[in-house]
């Protein structure tokens, strides 16, 4: 075995194109080229602008929960661009005259990376990032309970994503879809490094996510402000808690399944092989034992976002708080009892299928209750259609349609006729695009000022909403139709001419979604350019209701000058009703914040290099990195000087500064909410009078 393991010349992204020039290899070479050039461009930009040092001191080594959250969201945004481009290429492939311009293998890599990226490197970082930014501010905490572990989680996720990106440049990704069922992904049928890319990138991000779950749960249990009992907690914190518990328990089965798959592939074990006593059905069980709770890991935080966006922009208290809490808890518990519905077609008894079908539909009850609660929150309100609110309303309408098809699929007999078809593909996109992406978009538009101090541009935000919304319907409604006609998923090309008109509409829809994404990029760009006029230094730009809006925007590193006492569910609303515009500390004391450290970044990067070694069977590299990680953690364990102090004087100065801003900011009416008059502290003049 060579020192480079199984790495070959052909694994370098442009070599196959020169050996075998075709549109398919050309696209692969171009994609690899974009990654390489993109990375080079970033390096050049950082060097020319002299941004290396600030990047290192303010971002890479940071332990501040808000900055960590922002990095997560930036990661998700980059990966979202790749995921959507892949989707557009796949839509184009299917409308091109058969057999299209992609080889079957290349198409398979695309749907596999698309699924893997969208779930693990878009959805997860989005929600973990948003939780990081917002949750501590909502419960009155200064940071996560374990800030260093938080950094490790972050950089492990980045490492996992980097591996998926690397697969464009070096070697191939796997081709068995994001679920990677053996025996197809066994060493016999899939001998190249693709499956190992899948295994190790998910292992890195999976460990990161489990640690995030622990961090969130402990933070919520231990760091709530005094007086904030569980039933006074904001709903987003509740959904975070439930998501965290799901993360802690549900990521493990995925890790177990992928370790077993790795042992099968490289050590000749027989967990999932068909011969010698392996059982591939065990993989399906383990995978979905993770996979189904995962669905609710993705959706619950978005439910939390809607529970804040809707009351704020309805100018009204959240309807049915208790009901929403119990619905959230019910969903979290039930999510562990339904995994078999992902494989009704695996030959188990009808009774077992029926039980899991019924359990699946039972989740419909708390989910339906939530949608009605949000609707009743809007009822008797005064609705303002900000971008965040539009995404929330769009979510409710679209999600219900997905719910209908979801309950249909919960019937095993219907599942027999729709499994592995484009109907199923349409269904889960129908759940996850509104239920996850719209929620995160709403949350980002809503809470953006907390992290950056300025609002996002509303015009481009609304454009992006309409493009996403229209794009979604155009893309996926046709897929429902041809799915019912019997079109299987993961098909590189279709020969039935009856599908073509539907596929064309779907292609147009994909372009609209791409337009939505482009609008969002423009939105961020325009907002950064106009940040001076979009600044809301006084905080609370939407007449908000939660504790997080009692802080100035951007929120200072220490979050709270003093930790407030909580006596109700909407403390900030009550404070405002009493005429308060700023929290008044009674005394200032020194506080401690975690010091920056590069260790989290280093440990995760070494882990990533080690994982790369394992992917290409460079076992020596894997072992070396394992030892290096161990040494790094050991060094860190001797470091006891991990806190810095913010003195009472600094806090006082900061408070005085903020108070001055608040006092000199004119009161803004709701009418001017989306105009440049909004410098923070918007409130309802009509209500005040």
């Amino acid at each position: 075995m060579s020192i480079l393991g199984s790495l070959k010349w052909d694994d370098i992204f442009i070599v196959p194109f020169f050996k075998e020039p075709s549109l398919s290899t050309g696209i692969a070479a171009a994609a690899g080229g974009i990654v390489v050039l993109g990375a080079l461009a970033v390096l050049v930009l950082l060097t020319v602008k002299g941004w290396w040092k600030p990047l290192w001191t303010h971002w890479i080594t940071t332990l501040d929960h808000k900055k960590i959250g922002v990095i997560y969201i930036v990661l998700a945004a980059i990966m979202l661009i790749r995921g959507i481009l892949e989707a557009v290429v796949m839509r184009a492939q299917q409308v091109a005259p058969a057999p299209g311009f992609l080889s079957v293998e290349h198409h398979a890599e695309l749907f596999s990376t698309h699924g893997t990226i969208m779930i693990f490197f878009v959805a997860m970082p989005l929600l973990i990032g948003l939780i990081n930014v917002v949750m501590p501010l909502q419960i009155g905490a200064r940071d996560m309970e374990f800030p260093f572990m938080n950094a490790i989680s972050l950089w492990l996720s980045v490492g996992g994503a980097a591996l998926v990106m690397a697969s464009l440049v070096v070697g191939h990704f796997e081709t068995g879809g994001w679920t990677a069922y053996p025996p197809y992904t066994g060493i016999k049928l899939s001998p190249n490094e693709g499956v190992d890319y899948w295994i190790w990138s998910l292992m890195l991000t999976g460990i990161g996510t489990t640690l995030s779950g622990i961090n969130f749960a402990v933070t919520i249990y231990k760091q709530r402000a005094p007086g904030m009992t569980l039933m006074k907690m904001p709903i987003f914190a509740w959904t975070t808690l439930c998501t965290a518990i799901l993360m802690i328990y549900a990521m493990v089965p995925l890790a177990v399944a992928s370790v077993m798959l790795a042992l099968d592939r490289h050590a000749g074990f027989h967990f999932f092989t068909a011969t010698q006593g392996g059982n591939m059905m065990n993989f399906a069980n383990l995978f979905w034992l993770f996979g189904h709770p995962e669905v609710y890991i993705l959706i619950l935080p978005a439910f939390g976002v809607f529970s804040h966006v809707i009351p704020t922009f309805s100018g009204k208290k959240l309807y049915g708080y208790t009901s929403l809490v119990w619905a959230t808890v019910a969903i979290a518990v039930l999510s562990f009892t339904v995994w078999v519905h992902h494989f009704f077609t695996m030959g188990q008894t009808a009774h077992l299928n029926a039980i899991f079908g019924i359990a699946t539909m039972t989740i419909g009850v708390p989910t339906g209750v939530k949608v009605y609660n949000w609707m009743l929150t809007m009822w008797r309100g005064k609705l303002r259609f900000s971008t965040a609110m539009l995404f929330s309303a769009g979510f409710m309408f679209t999600f219900v349609i997905g719910g209908i098809t979801g309950v249909m699929l919960a019937n095993p007999v219907i599942s027999f006729a729709a499994h592995n078809s484009l109907f199923l593909v349409a269904h889960f996109h129908n759940m996850l695009i509104p239920g996850l992406l719209f929620g995160m978009f709403a949350g980002i538009n809503y809470w953006f000022p907390l992290a950056f101090g300025f609002r996002l541009d509303e015009t481009w935000g609304r454009r992006s909403f309409w493009l996403w919304m229209v794009g979604f319907y155009l893309t996926f409604m046709p897929l429902y139709a041809i799915g019912l006609m019997g079109a299987p998923r993961r098909m590189a090309f279709f020969t039935d001419p009856a599908y073509l008109p539907w596929l064309l509409v779907s292609m147009v829809g994909a372009l609209a979604v791409l337009g939505g994404l482009t609008s969002q990029v423009i939105q961020v760009w325009v907002s950064i350019k106009n940040r001076e006029s979009l600044m809301v230094p006084a905080g609370d730009p939407w007449d908000g209701r939660g504790l997080e809006w009692s802080l100035g925007c951007p929120v200072p590193e220490h979050d709270f000058t003093t930790i407030p006492n909580i006596t109700s569910r909407e403390p900030w609303v009550e404070a405002k009703e009493r005429g308060l515009r700023v929290m008044e500390p009674t005394e200032f004391v020194d506080i401690h914040l975690p010091k920056n450290t590069s260790m989290g970044f280093l440990v995760a990067m070494v882990a990533t290099v080690g994982a790369f070694g394992l992917i290409f069977e460079m076992w020596w590299l894997g072992a070396l990195c394992w030892i290096a990680m161990f040494v790094l953690v050991l060094i860190r364990s001797y470091d006891t000087d991990w806190e810095k102090t913010v003195t009472a004087e600094e806090l006082r100065a900061d408070y005085e500064r903020h108070k001055h801003v608040v006092e000199t900011t004119p009161k803004v009416s709701l009418d001017d909410e989306f105009t440049t008059k909004n410098r923070g502290l918007v409130f309802d003049m009509e209500k005040a009078v």
Binding site: Y181, L189, V369, V413, H419
Partner: protein
Amino acid sequence: MSPLGPIAAAEKSHMIVFFLWMLPVCLPILIGLPWILIKYRRKGGTGAYHPEWSHSTLAEAVIWGGSSVAVVILGVLVWMNTISEDPYKHTGANPIKVQVVGSEWKWMFIYPGKMASVNKVVLPENTPVEFDITATGAMQSFWIPRLAGQIYAMPGMQTKMNMTTGELAQLEGFNSQFNGAAFPLDKFEVDVVTKAQYDAFLQEPRKPWADLLTQFKKVATWDGPQIFDAPPKGWWDKASMNPDLANEGGAAILPDAAPEQKKIDDAIRNELHISQNQSQGDAQ
């Protein structure tokens, strides 16, 4: 969906029934939401503003109760449907037994003691059939959409799919679970014929069983449907326990330049009736 057999027809009717049952729960949202968005909009809306209103026991009871009732009804339906359309249950007395082996990228059908065929299954009209299904290589999903739903074909495992054929028809069955380079070609003909034609089919001249096995073992596509002698008694059961009997192994995903990949590309072109010299743009 245009079902031919009773099982496929039942699947279609369940879909419609479930869709309709979901409407009472979902229509209030689909209609009510736009209505609320219009009526309670801040500028120009006519709805009264009650910022503190946040609870109604009646509404809670209706929401929780209503959706629970819907789920109870649907749950009963799920139970009944699942039991009555159990793919393991015979759809009539004395079904025709066909043993199936799925592989990369072809399907073997065995009429025990009579005949074996690849990529083609011939069935008499309006007759109950039981497919006994296994696979070699990757996991696949056996599906003839116009007759019945699908079930996984897995190496080392046996699954069953019962159905009743409908009227005379030429149908297509396929694998719906992605399994590599020639996945789009992984399909088979299903001929539903008269009883007389079916009996005649079983008498047709065929090639020896050994020929089938040699070719079938390779991870490769298959040229056109062909018929062979039946395997020795009990072969299918053995093969379902030991998939290596019908599979030599090999990669299911290949570099673009690999000779096997060239063959697959040719097979795809052939399937699409594209001459090798023609550009891809002239397809069909």
